[in-house]
Symmetry: D2
Subunit: 363 residues, 4 copies
């Protein structure tokens, strides 16, 4: 992985700024012969799309994806399939309001990448955060849709928000069917109502809130991933931490495991009808960096949106003190829209792991 | 990063099994002209060495490192310096007691990589966990010592254990001078005494304990790292999660940030004598994947040692139920010896980031 | 380098098919702050553009390049500069005549990639050769223009055709000023006239001709490149051999060196005003994989265009014998248009070598 | 490929200097379950070993290889097999006569890497050329032996010398059985006798000679390799050009193709009993960067050994003119010992291509 490319055999390179003409990605190494339509990709982009509820940014973007290469009509079916050559996807930006940002041209917004980009490059597209904008994640979601094709139907990836601000769900009430029924991807019906009130208050207060997102993958066979630096959990950690605003990643029991005893933490095994049956999943589906066949379970901590209406202390590019209020159309809780992005990153990691496993072992 | 290689310009490839003749690493891309002696590397290996207290494994390994290539006498000083060519380091294994493991040849130890390695490769060196053994981390520590040379004296990396089992330190009592004074790398004198009692009890009970380790780097200039998949925090997350038994990684405020409001989380800035001065460090020294010049702060969750004397349910390779007790000489809390390993991984990530930054920007 | 990506720190990923909606590339790792306009890139594309003389394909393509990301207004100059983020370039295809190719849908053209693509992928965009078309090289030329920015003005790269069919130039008559004065990039005025007659005859005969192209780079400082698998000449060889229709690469004296004695081949040295002065350049500017400061000299053999009007024996996808004549608008000698492409590849290799050298050594 | 690592899924990292304690390589990504013994590797090393005839260096090296990791007893057979983890191979240096080199410590030998290494690194192990010595190729040959395991018995790789100095073999007399019968890997019995006289004269004259080596691989299925930068021929070119003293690479007809017409060059096809039958192999087994199923045919030009007894003009590190005669024990024609090295590089390229092809396509 190198700057703007992710993956080894299933490789995704993204490009584009928030307020440039377009953004997109190139997917190299996708297996040939897989059915792929713009509509399939669009379905995932629509889950991430801004402007769908009052709890996400009001920017209006169609986020319409175009397939520019790598797909051609299949001989037999006549339908579009991947050809094994690079798949170039493009999403044009249509609702940029660059003037919203003119006043932050010369001042660093705390918590944003403004200062660090300037320290690195000495020049940056300040409009909407440029390359550091969460808009870049649209390209990830598009790539993730292709990765799901490479994974095939046997692997199911789905995510949910499990905490907003200090309010965590009750895992005993977890209901996947609820996840699509509220604007928060919340699996706990009661908590969804509570978050609505909490986020309305947060928004009115000109503030923002953090969140914790959980992503699970079922159907991953035992054996994917590889020791010792290509560990499946290490690659998941890298993928997740590369998502904007993510500050923590844990697998299975995660940080809670630190307080466990060896017995509590052991994922005991018994023989089952279809091979080994595990009696617990504290390891979150990975041992020694290789999948065990259990569900992969990853949680990520998303910090509160840095762009807030309330005034915070900062400095200008010239080093003068200034107080900053960030106008514009921001998500009060970026963690919500991180769900389809985290799902997409898991899909990309798994597609790559599948191809590499097949390459090395022939299975 | 690809299977057994870590890094891009400063690249580390490790090899070796727990009970093979030796283990080691090849470091490619180290800048030339840096003073490097076996003694320098040995100093770091000695921090990680087994057998140094009753709280770590009693295996007796000298862990003596040999430099096989990449170092030659300097014209001017006559002392050994790096030449820019690959540095090959080797540590011979001397205290293998492979018979300890003969009985686990055909049974999977829960929480270990036994099952998943078999699922992937169909064959494995079962002695001491083979490649999945924590002995592999000796090679990382050796590589980390070289990485510190590449970083130079301006960057200081140090780590500490901040929680063992359910017992967390009091951060108000943090004293770096204490860290070398107890067998736990504990910065809180009072907690060190408490851990001693706790781990003695754990050991006697035939059990094990988890831990949380914190690593900090100071002196890292603003500008290292790069968006969007080579983010400094993403690479740190990958590096840390690749360490045996690590199940979680967080940067700065980490998971706690999920409960913060936007104001609480903002690292406000004011102009200072030497450029920008930050009023907080919730971001842990990274924004937008690029270092801010603040201290890098990373915490990792280490699960309890999987090898315990107490019986746990498992299966054999042939799929029969069996109860497993793991004899051998194991760390009651692997988190302790993870400290020099986590420091080494941070050194490797930063050395690589430094070289890549210099490559792209000339600074 | 991996499938559709070239380079390590200066990385180019190309995408697109001959008859798809567009083609392009993403350049990752370009240093920030370099002036870059579409006009600069267009100048190089125009050198490669089809339809400029009767000796190249009559396909009419504007090859107009768009910069979609990675460039923004400079604070000081107000002009567009690179920002250090990925530069996405797109060229729309406008003059596809896909029906020309309908009859080769099911038959393999000898010498083309039709058969091997099918063997690999089982599906291919047959229109104009799809991904294997020389149109892909437009993206390389665009990337090469950016690479020249990264190299700066001190490095000059230029190429020429030195042989067409059996007719080689007289090196004693080499005149760089002639190169732009004829449609063949020929440095030998007399030979240009001869080639004109030869290629007219070739074209009328429904045949095609091979060529040898030479590319030189001056101003490359001693020290770029690295042993032993990242050798500058090895990377040049890879880059050049990746160009469509290239079947051979040689550096300096190349194949002729096989017949030399050690004395003949030695590039003797004497001290000069500005350091070492070489008395010959049989090594073509590289020793031990590292540049010597002399001119880099690379020659490539380009086979005759595979698409010819004359009938050749072949088979259909179903395995039936068939005789193939390739209509369409083809270059009678693809070697001519290989000149700007080979220059571009050299620019990309050198830009990458410069950044890596700077990364490892700080110089 | 990056400095000292070659390959993507089948990755070889070599290390070591000519006069250091040892040299070796780490092979990462080798499939598990393949029988591998030191004796197998040794057989290939013995083909390359110095001191076997008066036409190669008289340095006496056993070149005994040790397997340090990655191989373990197989459950079923009890014999040693690869485990899928890194294979570390080491060859100790035993016959270094470093004093031979003390006088070249401060003077650059023309044609050698002395000057360019110094320009890059500012420090170098001058003894025997250090890292730039042809001794490094022992590690390649060892890696190639492992690559042949990964390829399996279906693929046969073999090489021969086809020209020494100005004396080329008669291809009509090509007899593979002759190749092992003379000290030149010469397939033409008559030419072998002629080379013997020529090289004796060359050696007595204190000079050296260049050569051309041809390597062929049969049994490679159609479909390996990939467009457009991972082309099989591009990777072969890179691999071959990375061998010491190689100055040119050609595939199939190579440079001769430049003089061909389109009809001459076309590898016509007819249907055969087992799929497509080619009527010629000017493409050398690759089209569009993908194997066609025909024999792969690669030729490399090896320059004369740079170390010669005759005096050549040079300079010292301090920039003073000096005349250099290189004593020591050198190959009068390094091209001879390049044969097993070139075979090894082809094996590594093909093993990597096989795994990547399997990864992307499942075949």
């Amino acid at each position: 992985m190198s700057h703007n490319t992710f993956g080894h055999l299933f490789r995704v390179t993204t490009w584009g700024e928030s307020h440039g003409p377009a953004l997109g990605c190139v997917i190299d190494g996708c297996p040939p012969g897989l059915a792929l339509t713009p509509e399939w990709i669009q379905g995932f982009l629509d889950k991430r799309r801004p402007g769908t509820s009052r709890f996400v940014t009001q920017r209006q973007e169609a986020d319409a994806v175009k397939i520019l290469s790598g797909v051609f009509e299949d001989d037999r079916t006549g339908g579009p399939v991947t050809t094994g050559t690079p798949i170039s996807l493009m999403i044009e930006n249509t609702d940029q309001r660059s003037k919203d940002y003119s006043e932050i041209r010369d001042r660093y917004r705390p918590g944003h990448a403004d200062f660090s980009y300037d320290a690195k490059y000495g020049v940056r597209d300040y409009r909407g955060g440029g390359r550091s904008s969460a808009r870049e994640t649209a390209a990830r979601v598009a790539a993730g849709a292709v990765a799901r094709c490479a994974l095939g139907g046997g692997v199911t990836i789905r995510g949910a928000v499990v905490q907003i601000g200090p309010h965590a769900i009750d895992r005993a009430k977890w209901d996947w069917d609820q996840v699509g029924q509220n604007p928060f991807w919340c699996p706990d019906k009661d908590m969804a109502a509570q978050w609505e009130a909490f986020l309305d208050a947060t928004r009115k207060a000109g503030s923002s809130a953090g969140a914790i997102v959980e992503v699970q993958a079922s159907g991953v066979p035992a054996g994917w991933g590889a020791p010792v630096y290509g560990k499946l959990d290490a690659e998941l950690a890298e993928a997740m931490m590369s998502i904007n605003a993510v500050k923590g990643v844990e697998i299975g029991a995660g940080f809670a495991a630190a307080a466990f005893s060896g017995e509590q933490n052991a994922d005991e095994m018994r023989s089952g009808n279809e091979g080994v049956r595990f009696l617990a999943n504290n390891n979150g589906g990975v041992a020694g960096g290789i999948s065990t066949g259990q569900d992969l379970v990853v949680r990520i901590a998303v910090k509160p949106t840095s762009s807030i209406l309330n005034e915070v202390k900062s400095v200008t590019r010239e080093g003068e003190d200034v107080d900053v209020r960030t106008k514009g159309r921001h998500d009060p809780c970026v963690g919500i829209r991180a769900v389809p992005v985290a799902e997409a990153m898991m899909a990309c990691v798994l597609a790559d792991a599948k191809l590499r496993h097949r390459g090395q072992t022939g299975r």
